[in-house]
């Protein structure tokens, strides 16, 4: 029996799960910021985005974190909250075999942008400090180092629905006995590269950033991970609503009025149409994190899970079905209860 016994969130609403839930409960959207950049010809490009507020001074001082980009800071902030002080003390003492799985879509795009700019300007002086932080698994490496764990550490890539594969890997590790607990972390950071790229899909989508963290173990206090059905691949021309329904059915989720639906609607009609069809007439409670906090890809899907767990803790639902319709790979989800 796998349970999620710790959650952490860094979102455009602030650092911590309470800030996330306050924004979702009130429906208060963060104030938009502008990301502006010059280009060789034409006027500057300005993109409206939602940013994570500045990091609190409570982030740990660690040599590993001195030069990291925001994605690693978000990951650390969420992971610390999910672990909590007792588990962190055990990890520091070498008494916790802590596995880490990070799921990413964009990854370390800030430093990739900066480093490639330096390479184009003059590769002979491109910064050796930046390059290692461009590698996809830099954030997960920092987490294992910070928490003093040599247990398995995987970074996986995929669309916004990849967190469910991360949960599957965590489950495999726990059932195999590879770890005492697993941190699943989904961080993303904003850069003009990714923000403008999202705009190519829809000018209505609001790029955002942040991280979610989940601590899984066998036993403990927290919602049970009841089912993680295989993701349904989205091929060209496939019926995306049907793919979601297949995940819903495979996950054993029932619309009994007491099951929360945490969906991936963003408020962009074209994106949301398939979900509207798939869940038409859903009678239970429903939350749509992206509508309030912007599109932070996998991080947003992680925040869906965190928010769903909070609803289960409050007793506003008996079960929660969390599902994401990814951009170009999969429909995926999980059932919690």
């Amino acid at each position: 029996m796998i349970r999620i016994t710790g959650t952490g969130a860094v979102s455009t609403a602030g650092w911590g799960v309470p800030a996330l839930m306050e924004a979702l409960d009130s429906g208060t959207r963060p104030v938009l910021a502008e990301l502006s950049r010059e280009r060789k010809s034409g006027s500057p490009v300005v993109t409206s985005v939602m940013r994570v507020p500045p990091a609190p001074p409570t982030l740990p001082k660690s040599p590993r974190l001195r030069r990291v980009s925001p994605i690693s800071k978000f990951a650390v902030g969420a992971a610390i909250e999910a672990l909590g002080p007792e588990r962190m003390a055990k990890a520091a003492a070498g008494e916790l075999r802590l596995g880490v799985v990070c799921a990413l879509l964009n990854g370390c795009v800030n430093y990739s942008n900066r480093f490639f700019g330096e390479v184009l300007a003059d590769p002979s002086v491109a910064s050796p400090i930046l390059f290692p932080e461009t590698v996809f698994n830099a954030p997960s490496s920092h987490l294992s180092s910070l928490f003093n764990s040599t247990a398995p550490n995987d970074t996986i890539l995929g669309d916004s629905a990849e967190i469910f594969t991360a949960l599957e890997i965590a489950t495999e590790w726990l059932l195999r006995g590879d770890c005492d607990g697993v941190l699943v972390v989904v961080p993303e950071e904003i850069d003009w590269l990714s923000a403008e790229a999202l705009g190519l899909y829809s000018c209505e989508a609001i790029p955002a950033e942040g991280a979610a963290a989940l601590y899984l173990e066998t036993g403990g206090e927290g919602p049970q991970l009841l089912a993680i059905p295989d993701p349904v691949l989205l091929g060209p021309g496939c019926d995306r609503a049907e793919a979601l329904r297949a995940v819903l059915n495979a996950g054993g989720a029932l619309d009994d009025g007491r099951t929360l639906l945490a969906d991936s609607r963003s408020g962009v009609c074209r994106f949301d149409a398939a979900e509207d069809r798939a869940y038409a007439g859903w009678s239970g409670p429903r939350i749509s994190v992206r509508e309030t906090l912007g599109e932070a890809f996998g991080a947003s899907s992680g925040l869906q899970v965190v928010a769903a767990i909070e609803h289960l803790r409050r007793g506003t639902a008996d079960r929660a079905f969390v599902a994401t319709l990814g951009g170009n790979e999969q429909a995926a989800g999980c059932l919690l209860g």
């Binding site: 010809s41 390059f131 990849e162």
Partner: protein, 402 residues
């Protein structure tokens, strides 16, 4: 735990486009480095790498589909197709495990270049889609006729080994009957310049793993894939078993983001776990395909780890680094080197660590400096990556596994 077989393998490197060309090249002790002409290297300290040759088109794949695949995905497709063909499969339902580090970085570079020019957004949407590895690998799966969950691991230079390891675990635990697994990476300007910025590239362009005066690695590109299958399913299909996967172990080196623990603690951990899980003593390993990058720190750490793991048996342990022939394939390295291990089992030879002039004093094992004929029953391969990802796989020739 079910016995796990490999029933197909495919490989593409600068040494050649398939198993036969690679087997011939490694058996002959050839190196396969050339000047890089994929991007501008005129201002880099190094201008050569293990750059592979790719066909302009491929039978059975539409020209449009081929053009839409990025360079790395083309390599992955060719190696995966060879693995499936060898396994006697024309697609089917199976999970796919992929390892990559840079993914479609060259496409991302094109997107960046056009964006900063600011002239138009023509083809930018297609680039954004093509840059994403899940988009590319899903397209590859469709081209191969393979349907199933897709898992893309990006643990830097251990990714390919991790992908095969995940496949092994799924099959051995009965969660899948067969899995297509492998890794790939293509050369890209960002990554090439990145390793150059770290002064990790050999200025001469000739990597000399385990040489006392080694001065860095050479980058390469390519892909390696295997069809991992339960032994029971392989027998039921009546296909030849190339080898068994006996074990897989992974651990994390938390010493430094880019430098291994100087005593090779994590490497020792994965070698110990993998051989124990396989029920083997170090002296029963006939060959180790080392990570062996040719950088000063990596080779010391790995050599120390091997000595600590093998103890008194160390002088008998035969080790080489095939990166001396084709370079470091990053996310593809672990899977390509796994396929090279399968070739050693199939063809009964040991590939060499080439260009070694004076062996580093830290080396206590038998460093294979020229290709050798040998009886090879059981082999082990190590893969280590930035961020501390360490992985070890153990393979055994089927006719010794019974």
């Amino acid at each position: 735990m079910r016995p796990v077989a490999i029933t197909g393998a495919g490989i593409l490197t600068s040494m050649g486009a398939d198993l036969a060309e690679n087997a011939a090249g490694f058996r002959a002790g050839r190196t396969a480095f050339r000047p890089v002409d994929l991007f501008d290297v005129s201002r880099q300290r190094v201008g050569t790498a293990g750059q592979a040759e790719l066909p302009e088109s491929v039978p059975g794949v539409s020209r449009k589909a081929w053009q839409r695949m990025d360079r790395g995905s083309r390599m992955a497709f060719l190696a995966a197709r060879e693995a499936l063909e060898m396994a006697g499969l024309s697609g089917g339902d199976m999970p796919v495990m992929i390892g990559t580090s840079a993914a479609a970085m060259p496409v991302g570079e094109q997107y960046y270049l056009q964006a900063i020019e600011g002239k138009s957004q023509r083809r930018q949407f297609l680039r954004v889609e093509s840059y994403q590895p899940q988009h590319q690998m899903a397209a590859m799966m469709r081209a191969l006729g393979v349907r199933g969950p897709l898992r893309i691991l990006s643990n830097a230079c251990a990714s390919g080994a991790n992908a095969i390891g995940h496949a092994f675990q799924l099959v051995s635990e009965g969660k899948a009957e067969r899995v297509l697994a492998g890794g790939y990476d293509a050369l890209s300007q960002l990554v090439f310049a990145g390793f150059d910025s770290l002064q990790a590239l050999s200025p001469s362009g000739i990597p000399r793993p385990f040489d006392a005066a080694r001065d860095g690695l050479a980058l390469g590109e390519g892909a390696g894939f295997v069809l991992v299958e339960s032994l029971e399913a392989a027998k039921a299909r009546g296909v030849d078993v190339m080898a068994r996967i006996l074990s897989y172990a992974a651990a994390t080196d938390i010493h430094h983001l880019t430098q291994p623990h100087p005593e090779g603690d994590a490497a020792l951990s994965t070698m110990v776990k993998a051989t124990r899980a396989a029920g083997l003593e170090p002296e029963q390993i006939d060959y180790i395909n080392s990570h062996g990058t040719g950088t000063p720190l990596n080779d010391v750490a790995e050599a120390r780890a091997i000595s600590r793991w093998a103890g008194a048996a160390t002088p008998k342990i035969r080790v080489s680094s095939t990166k001396s022939s084709i370079g470091h394939l990053l996310g593809g390295a672990g899977s390509v080197e796994s396929v090279i291990c399968l070739l050693t089992l199939r063809d009964q030879f040991l590939p060499a660590s080439l260009n070694v002039r004076e062996i580093d004093p830290v080396v206590e094992f038998d460093l294979v400096q020229q290709p050798r004929e040998a009886v090879v029953k059981t082999v082990l391969t190590n893969s280590f990556g930035f961020g501390g990802a360490n992985a070890t796989l153990v393979f055994q020739r089927e006719d010794w596994s019974r």
